[in-house]
Symmetry: C2
């Protein structure tokens, strides 16, 4: 590391074995994090290059907090440290998938719920509303 | 629709029943799409306001293609139309989760694979490499 640049050839990008994560204009790459044992989607967050390097080097999930503007080792204050079981990247290498074992109480959301996706969007004649179907 | 603005009160944003999706500076919101029957993560894509409205109104997944710069009804050319079983939103309402039944051959990735996340990132002394653990 640092990570190599993406190949110009799309075929190499999609079918090669070189990891060339694509960071956006803000230097971030999106990451979906699931509970390894269940496959449940816990959260969606962003990593900058440093957070991704730290995650790979330590095997513990690090993110970039956009609201606080700082490197964020998940669990430092909550105890919900995420041990990485597997990391995946998508076809065009601009999205990551982490399968983790979540420490502490096993939750991921700062609202006290296991998953951040605790509300369902339901449509009605009056337009979409949110319902709490988990949590 | 159009969608109402986010409430200033964070508690209302996170604990309320009003759907106020937050679009980024490019007018996009990120969406993780899973196969409803298995929970497998198929793809990650983006919606603009129109794509989100169409998805809610029709019950079929629409995205915004960043590469082509156009509204994209998934499956129009591939037959892999995604019937929405459930839509969820995360705590701060800047990420969506779609659980879908995928039509056609049930795949989602343009490379011919079911999921876009077909490569695993594995670390070694020579740095991270990609392995094809799902085909």
């Amino acid at each position: 590391m640092p990570f190599p640049p993406a190949p110009a050839d799309k075929k190499l990008l999609e079918e090669g074995d070189v990891f060339t994560p694509k960071f956006d204009a803000h230097g971030l790459i999106v990451c979906v994090t699931t509970e390894a044992s269940s496959g449940e989607i816990l959260m969606l967050a962003y990593m900058n290059e440093l957070a991704l390097e730290k995650t790979i080097e330590t095997g513990v999930a690090h993110y970039w907090s956009r609201s606080r503007g700082e490197l964020w080792r998940k669990g430092d204050t909550s105890g919900q440290v995420q041990e990485v079981v597997e990391m995946r990247v998508d076809c065009d290498q601009d999205a990551l998938l982490l399968r983790v074992n979540a420490g502490g109480d096993g939750k991921a959301c700062h609202t006290g719920r296991k998953s951040c996706f605790y509300r369902k969007v339901e449509n009605s004649d009056a337009g979409p509303r949110l319902t709490f179907s988990i949590g």
